[in-house]
């Protein structure tokens, strides 16, 4: 344990016996360890044998105290007051209700002096809250104490004001608090700042005029004042960073001062100078740095020093380190700093780190992969291990990471994981989050319609709140409506499959109600494009079984309802009935729609209705639907007009902007309401920064511009464009290739690569990693078993010794994994960190053996450039979000592909390559490429084009193979 802590411990008894009760210099009448009486009471309570006995003792004591307090004059009998209040506070600590003492506390705060006053204030703080009626009684006392010349009174009043003064009372006390900002003593100024922060939380508008005054406090030399004012600015910056960007240099200066030992050793905590202040400052700088590039540049060197130099000896220094990395990911830092962060995360995630560190590492990795998703791939094995971790907290964090790094190539695997986790979890909070994450991914990244629907059917199969269920169904319906309007986006093949799947769902006895509801509605939506794909008999048959099943369910529940039920049970049943009715209505609705679109023959339906009408429930909504349908059937001549009926017309006169609500919205905003953001927008905003290959689209519900485009480009196109590019650009691609690798010296290193491993679990992990990290910049997965290296990564050797310990002569080739002397927090000692480091070299090094294509083929090679994973093109593209620049030659190629791509919208259907994984991945890559071209189509610095060329050329040999 550190020296400081030892000293602290040694001084505690002194503190406890003396300082609170008045200090050693106090007169004996005033000085006291808690009186005999109080001690006795505590002892009795502690010795109570049962909960009820304890409660008994406490209650008796409390009522006797109340009696005494009522009778006696508070000021006259000091001893009594002290012992009574101490007992009351003790009881409160044990969570007994002592609210009856509140009035005495308020009185004591008003009338008492010194210690008694503080006791009174303390108990008031414990028992009252800003909305409490008795706070009004306190106001006069508070203002009087603020005005008093006694500093102790000033301080205590400022502290209490911060806790108890709410919105209504702030105006009356604010002027006094502002005056205290100019008090001669630092302690009072500091407390005044804390008080202002509390006021700002409840009434931000009132404090606006005083905010400029705060700037002067940034120049203070007193750490207390600096902490107070920094915490206040932290709130301000989180609300509106742009307004305070000009203060950035001041904060930077303070942080710099702290790290240059500017504040004396008194303020060291576990050998770290002012850690809490540092964390707050880093947070502020993160906010401000993201707004202002120049400031970001200025912060970067300091962060680099912090990340490199911080010795992780105590959790608190780790806290500063973690915060530094977090800030680095926010300020648009350069490659080098991000790599540093990535390595730091690698240490945290290393398999011998404690769970707490892994948890933090995941959090950082989420933040880092938002800046650049490819970094997540550097830690793939560690992430997979976290995925397998037994700790639910870590699993949940890992899920968030997966969500953050999803792209079109790995979205299926990610969603599968999420679903699996969702089924396992008992945590409702995570469950809802998972539902939103999956639906967000499906909306943004879905590559084909089967998977899209399947995913939704899976989610809807879960137990969802009716609100969420309806929202999700709405999302699917609106998406499918768009698809069905655009006739070409679904091939008859996939439509057939779709219909079969939906019928299966309806026919399945185990299907949940929401799934059936969705399927039925989808039939209605798809009605206009069903055509021959639809067999009316099979649908009617399904409808019949469904209706009969509903009836039997109805009767079953009716039977149970006769028995006496608890209210909650009844609720469940009510919603169950509602659902049954809903499904029947929906079923009839769909039939009407199908009749209208001509998919169902009037006669068939009439016949069907005749036989099954009796099975329909007697409920107003159902009868209403039934009437509509019958009406329709009785006037078949109207059906001749079908050709004129436009389904889902885009021109429908709906005021989608909801402009008629503007007045209400404005009113709400004026009253301080926030702007409504639907969940999916919030989620996609969060994700916006890490969008990799998703083309921009004005509506989050849209598929990438032309329906399910990524799969549409046919194999022929690929061959075409690839050869065009490769013939022209081979030479330059060879040169530029290195730029996009992680390690500059990789070519100098040689690896012995062996594909395949004996270890079954290892293999399993690797398979998972392959799936999850597809399209993330690293070439699939590598197994490097032996490494013959003459240059043990010279670039980083020196620098990295510092990060976790200072010992420079460690030979990192030796991997000692014994875990001696583990820190209580689980920070590993040097040996371990070195072994980790060694691994990392391997991991970050040349990745040349790819096992990554779905067909299970492994490519084994000793030279990295010759064989590349089929995913390489996608990932390279993913790596450079601005790869929209081409010189003229590429421009041609690009526009060529665009034309091809556009001219065969139905290519998806015809492409035989769809079922072959390699090809489909290719086409994905190309579709992305095209879309990006379409969307940005402008010229940018030439450097970016390198990656595209790289990707295209790399893909050549594979393309030829297939």
């Amino acid at each position: 344990m550190s020296q400081i802590m030892e000293k602290t411990l040694a001084s505690l008894p002194k503190l406890l016996t003396q300082s609170f009760s008045g200090g050693k210099n106090m007169k004996p009448t005033k000085g006291h360890p808690p009186s005999q009486e109080v001690q006795l009471f505590m002892k009795v309570v502690h010795q109570a044998r049962s909960k009820s006995q304890e409660a008994n003792i406490v209650q008796t004591e409390l009522s006797s105290i109340q009696q005494k307090l009522k009778q006696s004059d508070l000021i006259a009998s000091l001893g009594l007051v002290r012992s009574s209040f101490t007992k009351i506070i003790f009881c409160h600590l044990l969570n007994y209700d002592v609210s009856c003492a509140a009035i005495h506390a308020v009185n004591l705060a008003q009338q008492g002096h010194g210690y008694e006053k503080r006791l009174g204030y303390l108990l008031s703080c414990l028992l009252l809250h800003p909305q409490h009626e008795m706070v009004m009684l306190m106001m006069a006392t508070l203002i009087r104490d603020l005005k008093s010349a006694n500093m102790a009174n000033n301080c205590i009043a400022l502290m209490v004001a911060g806790e108890l003064v709410g919105e209504d009372n702030v105006p009356s006390i604010l002027p006094e608090v502002i005056k205290k900002l100019r008090h001669s003593h630092e302690l009072v100024r500091e407390k005044a700042l804390h008080c202002l922060r509390a006021f700002y939380r409840s009434t931000p508008s009132l404090l606006q005029p005083y905010l400029p005054q705060l700037n002067t406090f940034l120049a203070s030399r007193d750490p207390g004042i600096l902490t107070a004012v920094t915490n206040l600015f932290l709130i301000l910056c989180q609300e509106n960073a742009a307004r305070f960007v000009n203060l950035g240099p001041s904060f930077l200066h303070i942080l710099d001062q702290i790290n240059h030992r500017g504040f004396g050793t008194n303020y060291y905590y576990h050998m770290v100078p002012l850690p809490w202040l540092q964390v707050s400052l880093l947070k502020i700088l993160g906010c401000l740095g993201s707004m202002d590039a120049a400031l970001g540049k200025a912060i970067a060197p300091l962060l680099q020093v912090l990340i490199e130099k911080t010795k992780v000896s105590e959790p608190i220094s780790l806290a500063v380190l973690v915060e530094s990395v977090l800030t680095a990911t926010q300020i648009n830092a350069d490659e080098e700093l991000l790599h540093l962060c990535s390595r730091c995360i690698g240490k945290l995630l290393s398999s011998d780190a404690s769970n707490g560190m892994k948890y933090q590492g995941l959090r950082l990795l989420i933040s880092l992969s938002r800046v650049k998703p490819s970094f997540a791939a550097q830690h793939q094995m560690a992430v997979v291990e976290c995925l397998m971790d037994e700790d639910p907290a870590i699993q949940i964090r890992t899920m968030h990471l997966l969500h953050a790094m999803a792209n079109q190539a790995n979205v299926k695997a990610v969603c599968a994981r999420l679903l699996e986790q969702m089924n396992k979890t008992v945590d409702r909070q995570f469950f809802t989050e998972a539902v939103h994450m999956i639906s967000d991914l499906a909306e943004r990244l879905a590559v084909d319609i089967d998977w899209y629907l399947d995913t939704y059917l899976n989610i809807l199969d879960q137990k969802l709140s009716s609100q969420t269920r309806d929202d999700l169904i709405d999302l699917v319906i609106s998406r499918m409506e768009k698809v069905s309007v655009d006739n070409n986006s679904i091939s008859s093949d996939s439509l057939q499959k779709l219909i079969a799947a939906l019928l299966r769902v309806i026919n399945n006895y185990d299907s949940g109600q929401s799934v059936i509801l969705l399927s039925l509605q989808l039939f209605g939506v798809l009605a206009p494009i069903l055509g021959e794909a639809f067999s009316s008999t099979s649908f009617l048959f399904s409808a019949e079984t469904l209706v009969s099943r509903l009836v039997s369910e109805w009767q079953q529940t009716k039977v149970t309802i006769i028995k006496p039920l608890s209210p909650s049970c009844k609720e469940v049943d009510d919603s169950h009935f509602e659902n049954l009715i809903n499904i029947q209505c929906c079923c009839l609705d769909t039939i009407s729609k199908l009749v209208l679109s001509g998919s169902l023959q009037v006669d068939c339906v009439k016949e069907w209705l005749q036989t099954h009408k009796c099975k329909l429930l007697k409920h107003p909504s159902v009868s209403c639907c039934l009437d509509e349908l019958e009406e329709l059937l009785q006037h078949p001549e109207h059906l001749l007009l079908t050709s004129q009926i436009v389904f889902h017309s885009q021109k429908t006169e709906l005021d989608m902007s909801l402009s008629f609500l503007d007045k209400l919205v404005v009113q709400n905003l004026l009253h301080g309401g926030g702007i409504l953001k639907p969940m999916y927008i919030r989620l996609s905003e969060e994700k916006a920064s890490c969008q990799v290959v998703v083309p921009t689209s004005s509506n989050p519900l849209d598929f990438p511009e032309s329906g399910f485009s990524p799969l549409q480009s046919s194999a022929g196109e690929n061959g075409n464009s690839t050869s065009l590019v490769s013939s022209g650009m081979t030479s330059s691609s060879l040169r530029t290739k290195n730029k996009w690798r992680d390690e500059e010296d990789e070519d100098e290193e040689h690896f012995l690569i062996v594909g395949g491993s004996d270890d079954e679990s290892q293999r399993k992990h690797e398979e998972i990693a392959q799936e999850l990290f597809a399209g993330l910049g690293e070439v699939g997965l590598t197994k490097v078993i032996g490494k013959v290296s003459k240059h043990p990564s010279k670039n980083n050797t020196k620098k990295w010794h510092n990060m976790w310990d200072d010992d420079d002569d460690q030979n990192h080739e030796h991997c000692i994994t014994s875990s001696l002397g583990l820190h209580p927090f689980g920070i590993c000692k040097k040996a371990q960190s070195f072994s980790r480091w060694h691994d990392e070299d391997v991991e970050n090094g040349n990745l040349s053996c790819s096992l990554n294509d779905d067909s299970g083929l492994g490519f084994i090679s000793s030279k990295s450039e010759t064989v590349l994973s089929p995913l390489a093109p996608v990932s390279r593209l993913a790596e450079s979000p601005m790869c929209n620049s081409f010189d003229s030659a590429h421009e041609d190629v690009a526009s060529d592909t665009n034309v091809l791509y556009r001219s065969c919208p139905g290519a998806y259907a015809e492409s035989t390559g769809y079922n072959q994984p390699v090809l489909s991945i290719y086409s994905e890559g190309f579709a992305d490429f095209n879309l990006e071209k379409l969307n940005y189509g402008m010229t940018n610095p030439a450097s970016a084009s390198a990656s595209t060329i790289d990707a295209l050329t790399d893909s050549d040999p594979e393309g030829a193979d297939s």
Partner: protein, 141 residues
């Protein structure tokens, strides 16, 4: 910001509760119950951070806890708080068992550590000087 500090024993009986955001009494009890439920079923070997819990701030809500002998020390914070920092803070708060024998002092010490849900510079000697400073001031009366 710190929303609440809860200390309860192995049976979920509260030993110290301090809320920095006001909740009605019954909600407070519910929060304590739910927190105990979440924390108590976790193994000592797993990490000290917890997400979830629907009561205080939804998904923005974290629990950071430590389990010492018979007591759980739980800090409920929002996502803007440094988790590791809080963990270290808990260690300092509970490093001395003698603290817990005297109710009043606990609250004083706590109010020096955390004010309005923000952690002040924590340094035991610093706190002691502060408290002594205040006592000095009192003496001047």
């Amino acid at each position: 910001m710190i929303k609440a500090i809860l200390v309860f024993n192995n049976h979920g009986k509260p030993r110290l509760t301090k809320f920095y955001q006001h909740f009605p009494e019954d909600v407070q009890h519910q929060i304590i119950r739910e927190t105990f439920h979440l924390v108590s079923k976790r193994d000592d070997s797993v990490c000290n951070f917890l997400e979830g819990g629907t009561l205080i701030g939804g998904s923005d809500y974290r629990l950071i806890y430590r389990h010492y002998a018979t007591l759980y020390f739980v800090f409920c914070v929002d996502s803007s708080e440094s988790e590791l920092g809080i963990l270290d803070l808990i260690q300092s708060v509970c490093e001395s068992p003698t603290i817990w024998s005297l109710a009043v002092k606990v609250h004083y010490i706590l109010s020096e550590l955390v004010m309005g849900g923000m952690v002040l510079e924590t340094n035991m000697t610093e706190i002691i000087t502060r408290i002594e400073e205040q006592n000095q001031l009192e003496k001047q009366e």
